[in-house]
Structure formats: structure tokens, C-alpha cells
Point group: D2
Chain length 244, copies 4
């Protein structure tokens, strides 16, 4: 019944990612077949910096569909069900999430919101409640099993599990969808938890594929201003009205 911390692990990325994106961009404008150019891309005969520069420049002009050819897969643990519910609303993505129907929560772990952690009184109330949750879950499971509902006991007992209950998820998004995810979820207006997930994913993306994610993040990072209405702006960048 302990608190669980966020962990975001990189699992996989389409190989030769930059070259693949470069090849896809080139195929749009090139008379030849990029498969013929592919060995030169892989061998480095075509300088990776040249590839990166070409891709950056073309993306700046608004043509970003070729970055879809590369996908990234992450394994995430230490997030609440509240957070996973937000994540799976992103529809251009693939998810495999731990099931509360199949996995019993005999030792439920939970996410402790930082604002609650900082206030001793709140933290105490929260933690004592988590103990009550575990007890209610176990009691209900036992009762259901005792009444011959063994195969469905998890499924029904989980109704008492909190939004704070920890979950794990494997998620795959292509680079274009990742950029969109970061636009929304790295914004200071996003909820703290999904923002923490997005920030970790973005750091991995910047590390693995800098040519594509160098200026990734909330919309303001690309725009140079905040697209929100002034009353919601966080102040990191000026709002558009104050640009000039």
C-alpha cells in the first residue's frame, strides 16, 4: 500500500529514424526512388547533419506529415488512473494498459499528489484513507469470493479503488502525434501529473531524435508567444496581443 513514483522508460523507436524521415520527405519531391538512396543514408555517405538540416527546414515550412513514419514506444508506471484516463483520450496512438479486471490489487500502490504531500495534515488524511481503500477492496473481494463470484471478484471490487490507484501502460505514438501530445500536455495549464509524464517523454524524444524534437514542447515553445487567452497565460512567454 505504498506510494508509487513516476517512471517513464523508453522501449523502442523505429530504427534509422532520421534517415527514414529524410527519405520520406525526399520521396515527395525527388524523381528517383528513395529505396535506391537508402544504403547511402544508412552508411552515412549522405551526412546526417545534411539530413537533419533538410528535415528541420521542411518542417518549419509546415510540411510535417513525413515524421509520422517514426514511432516511439514508452512504458510508464507510477501514474494514477486519473492520469491514464487523460492519456488515452489521445486517439492517434496505441495503448496496452494493466487491467484492474485481471490483476488483483492485493497491495495497491497509489499516486500522492505533490500539493497534498506538502501539507502534513492533508498527507495524513490522504494516507489514512488509502488504508481504508485497501481494507474495503479486500473485504469486498473476500465477500464476493465467498459468494461464488471468484472469477468476477476483481472486476467488481475495483469499484472502490481510487483515481489515485497506480497503473502501468505501454504506449506508442508517431512523432507527429507526439508533438501534438507535447503541445497540449507540456503546457503549464495541463494537469501536473500528465505534464510530468509528457516532460519525461519529451526529454527522451529530444535525446533520441533531436532533429525532430529540438523545439518540442508546449505550443509557446514553437510560436514564441502564448496562444492562450491572457487570463490563462502562465507568463513564460508573452501573449499574442503583447507581441509587438
Amino acid at each position: 500500500m505504498p506510494e508509487k513514483k513516476l517512471r517513464v522508460d523508453f522501449m523502442a523507436m523505429t530504427p534509422d529514424a532520421l534517415s527514414l524521415i529524410y527519405a520520406a520527405f525526399r520521396q515527395c519531391y525527388h524523381a528517383g526512388f528513395v529505396a535506391d538512396m537508402w544504403p547511402k543514408l544508412l552508411s552515412g555517405e549522405i551526412d546526417p547533419q545534411v539530413q537533419a538540416d533538410f528535415v528541420s527546414k521542411t518542417m518549419e515550412s509546415g510540411h510535417d506529415s513525413p515524421i509520422e513514419h517514426v514511432s516511439m514506444t514508452f512504458a510508464v508506471e507510477g501514474i494514477s488512473r486519473a492520469c491514464s484516463h487523460q492519456i488515452v483520450r489521445h486517439r492517434i496512438a496505441s495503448y496496452s494498459q494493466q487491467s484492474q479486471r485481471y490483476v488483483a490489487e492485493n497491495d495497491m500502490e497509489y499516486i500522492l499528489p505533490p500539493a497534498i504531500a506538502k501539507i502534513p495534515e492533508a498527507r495524513e488524511r490522504f494516507e489514512s484513507f488509502m488504508a481504508e481503500v485497501q481494507s474495503a477492496y479486500t473485504d469486498l473481494r473476500d465477500i464476493l469470493v465467498a459468494h461464488g463470484r471468484k472469477s468476477k471478484a476483481n472486476e467488481d471490487a475495483r469499484f472502490v479503488l481510487p483515481q489515485a490507484a497506480e497503473t502501468k501502460i505501454v504506449m506508442t505514438m508517431n512523432c507527429r502525434s507526439l508533438h501534438h501530445f507535447f503541445h497540449l500536455r507540456c503546457c503549464n495549464r495541463a494537469q501536473w501529473e500528465v505534464r510530468a509524464v509528457a516532460d519525461r517523454m519529451l526529454a527522451i524524444c529530444k535525446d533520441k531524435l533531436p532533429a525532430i524534437f529540438a523545439n518540442g514542447g508546449a505550443r509557446c515553445e514553437q510560436l514564441g508567444y502564448c496562444p492562450e487567452s491572457p487570463k490563462f497565460a502562465c507568463g513564460k512567454y508573452p501573449v499574442r496581443e503583447n507581441l509587438a
Copy 2:
């Protein structure tokens, strides 16, 4: 803090739905322009039964993309967060869901699983726990507000809310996506709650657009056999191995 019952309301459907689907099918194979045929479809000069028969026959041959032109919108209340989390995994759909960040749960309603409702001991345990939830939520909100976290109090206090917490959602799916939803969620293997939602939606669909949904439902309803492996089959239809 009462129990809340499922309610599925029909909100909207693309108008002249059968004619629209018929027109879309016809456009694929017809030399003329269906917009020229449209007035005759709307006036009934082309018999609706003829339209329905044509559509059914073409769908049977596996050509079902034209039914995507018609969408249905439902408003659903009285479902748990566990259930809504399952629903929004269907990605070819649009959702607007009540936010626990914006709406305070001062009088939280909840979903009581039928299997728990039937066992007095379980029901009592469940209901007394729901009272504890309300109390923990209110306490945490108060503490957060007292510590100057008013604007984020809902957002963090909701971590104690249970999967059972009632939610409301407006959802739109096109007919092809609806059929897929019913294939998975009307199956007896689906969880009871999402199956109840799917069954209500299917009843509305059959009523509003019988030509498209007459044989809607779990896969077995169209196949005439159960596509699951024998150990999971519910027995309503024979499994494929036992067909002959």
C-alpha cells in the same frame, strides 16, 4: 451521495440517414451524380424499402464504408469512471466528458455493481465505504482551500474518488464504428457495465435505423457462431469448431 442508475439518451443522428447511406453507396457504382437523385430520395419517390434492401445487400457483401456518413450522438449518465475509461479507448469516436477538475463532487453519486447489490453484506460494506470517500474528499478539499490551493482543490482531492464515481459523457460515433463497438461490447464476455451501455445504444440504433442495425450486436449475431475460443464461449451460439 446516492447510487446513480444508467441513463442513455439519444441526442442526434445525421438527418435522412438511410437515404444518405443509400446515396453514398450508389455514388460508388453510378454514372450520375447522387446530388441529382437526392430530391427523389427525400421525397420518397425512390421507395425507402428499396433503399433499405439495396443497403442491406451491399453491406452483406462486405462493403460497409458508406455507413460511416451517418453518425449518432448519445448522452450517457450513470456510468462509473471505470466504464468511461473503457469507452474512450474506442478511438474512432468523439467524446465530451464531465471533468473532475472543474466540477466539485460535493455530493458524489456512484455506481453500485449488481453483483454487490445482491449480497447484503457486500452492499453494506460498499455503501459505508462510499460515505468514507465523501468524507475524505470533503476533508481534503477543505484542507487544500485552507492552504491557499482553491483553484486546484478539486483537481487534487479527486485522487480519493473511486472508480465507482459517477460520470457523464456525450459521445458521437459513426455507424461503422458503432457496429464495431457493439461487436466487442455487447458480447457476454464484456464487462457488465459497458455491456449495459452498449445494449441501450444498440436498442436506440435498431429503433432509429433498422436497415443498418437489424443484426447489430456481438460478432456472433452476424456470424451465427461464436468466434471466441471454446473455453470463453458463453453458449449462446456454437463455437466454430462445432459448426458442422
Copy 3:
């Protein structure tokens, strides 16, 4: 074998569209169930102008997913296969297109590009070539039929049909996808033909649902500046670098 002109017909829109979008927006932030508010929305008891203002304001703050609940269906004729190939690249949409496999082109109609129409010499060359196309198509069909390939004669003879060959398509997009379509295709950098289609669709959308489409169109119409790099900018709006 005549030239064919563009025609874009409105076929259907989700009924009570503004109210449906308003209801979906409200459900996100509202404690009650929007289905209970629905009759008041339909009766006008809640002023449509209030609904429109609420929706516009919320969209401006970047929350636009509820407009997905409303879809529009158009029937388009008088476009080339080149144009339809561009249109169907928009993936959040549904299409039913006239098949060249099923429909014989015994009197092929074609699209004449305006730039060619304006130069007599070019127009003459184009039109005489279209006559050659018809003749090649008919010859090939006849040969294939004479060699016992009747059922596949259209399918193979159509390989000689030009990109200019006229096609017809029924298309459905939700309002969010429509906005995206207009962002790209109403831009002066888009190809003239798909821009003409997009402009007609936009005019219909503005007429049918002004609260949602009032400032629809190319990105610049919402941004107040051109997001393209300076060398591609058309001049209608200043580029971002020149904003201040």
C-alpha cells in the same frame, strides 16, 4: 467528352448543430446532465446567441474537441482524379467515390485547368488530347471485351484515363476536421482545384453554422499573420517576422 464544372452540394449536417456543440461543451464543466437541458436548448429557451457566444469563447481558448460532434456531408462533382487523390489524403473523414472499375467512361468528362483554358494554344492541345484519350479508352475496352475480358474491361482500360478525368465523391467530415481541411486547402499555396473545392465547402459551412466557421479558412485568417516562411507567403497577411 465535354468539360465539366465544379459543383459542391450540401447533403446533410447533424441536426440542432449549435445546440449539440453547446451541450457537449457544457457537459465538460457542468454538474448536471446535458440531456436534461436539451429540451430548453431545442426550444430556444436558452438563447441561441448565448449558445453561440459561449461556444466561440471556449473555442478561442483552444478547447475545440466538442465541435467534432457535428458532421457535414457534401456531394462533389466536377473534380479531377488529381484533386480527389489530394482530398482523400485527409484521414479523419469518410468518402464514397465513383469507381472507374464499375462505371464505364463511354463519354468521359474532364476538368480543364483555368491556366490552360486562358491560353488558346494550350486549350486546343488539351482538348484534342482529350479526344485521343476517349478513343484510346474505347479501343482498349473493345479489344478487351473481344478477348473475353468483359468483366475486367473497365478496370484495365481506365489506365489510359487522365488525371483530368472527372470524378464524383460524397464526403463527410466533422467540424474539427473541416477546420483543419480549410487551414491547409484554403491557403493560397494550395493547388487551385482543391482550393476551389475547399472555398465552396467553407462558404456552405459559414452559412449553415456561422458560430463555428465565422473565422474559418486558411491558418492566416485565425492567426492574423502568415505562418509560412517568407519566400512562400502570398502577401495577404504579413509573415510573423514582420508582425511587430
Copy 4:
């Protein structure tokens, strides 16, 4: 102006594909975090055959979403514009296609349908027509350039290019979308050209990832019967009515 033959090149696949799919499946039902199991999967400490068997069995029970985590990228040349128009109708995929607006067709290559190739009279008519196409394209480009339309000359001249005109495309699909593609396009009812593309892609998939694609192909390959109506059945498998 020569004929061009189909070529389908494998470009990329998500690395450690089987293990990634296995890990995603396991995360759904497993109490632990698959990232902790990942090194054992990569090192082979968990036998690849065990992984393959687990995945096959789970897929058979109808749970196939985890195979979405793996994508394949192909480069295709030697297909007609007719064929690419069919391919891009598959919406759960990413495409980068050679542009006829940017690439001049000074030496247009084309696809010769096999049925036409087999009939000398048809072949001759087809080939002489392709020469006419090249001549019309070049004439129109020259006229447009002479009239000051250089930058748009390709864009407008291409209206005379035939459906047979060769195109090149880079395409990425995840494994679930690939299976769907094969269901439709490997069927003997599919058009010969897109079927040839699908067959090549399937052969690559079977080679690269046999655990996922062993029984890939048209629907009949999984079902053991033909799901088409009897009048369209090719005879490779019995239709359902004749199963027993």
C-alpha cells in the same frame, strides 16, 4: 517512357518487434512492470518461442490491439496512380508520395496491365497512346512555360497524365492495420495491382515477423471459409453456407 515494374522494398520495422508485442500483451494481465522484464526479453532469457506462442494464442482469442505497437515501413515503386489512390484510402497509415506538382514527368514511366500486355493488339494500342501522352504533356508544359507559367507548369500539365503513370510512395502501417489491409487487398476480388502490392508486403511481413503474420492474408485464410456472397466467391475456400 518505358514500362515500369513493381518493386516493394522493406525499409524499417520497430526493433525487437516480437518482444515488444509480448511485453505489451503481458502488461495488460501482469502485476509487475514490463520495463523490468524487458532486459530478459531482449537477452533471450525468456525464450522467443514462448513469446511467440503466447502472442499467437492471445491473438486467436480476439485480443489483437497490442500488435499495433509494431509498425512496418515500405517503399513502393512501379505502381500506377490508380493503385496509389486505392492504397491511400487506408486511413490508419502514413504516406509520403511523389508529387506530380513538384516532379516533372519528362520521361514518364507507366504501368502496363498484364491483361493488356497479353493481347498484342491491346498492348500496341496502349503503348502508342503512352507516346501520345508524353507528347501532350511536353507540349503543354512548353506552352505554359512560354506563357510565363513556369512555376505551375507541372501542376497543370499533369492533367493529361494517365492513371497508368508510375508513382512511388513510402508507407507505414502498424501490424493491426496491415492485417486489415491484407484482409481486403490479398482477396482474389481485389484489383490485380493493389493485390500484387499487398502480396509482396505480406511476404515481407511473414519473413520479418512470422508469429504475427503466419496466417495473414485475405479473410478466408483466417476464417477457413469465404465471407463473400456465393456469387463473388473465387472458390479457393468454400462459402459459409457450404461449410457443414
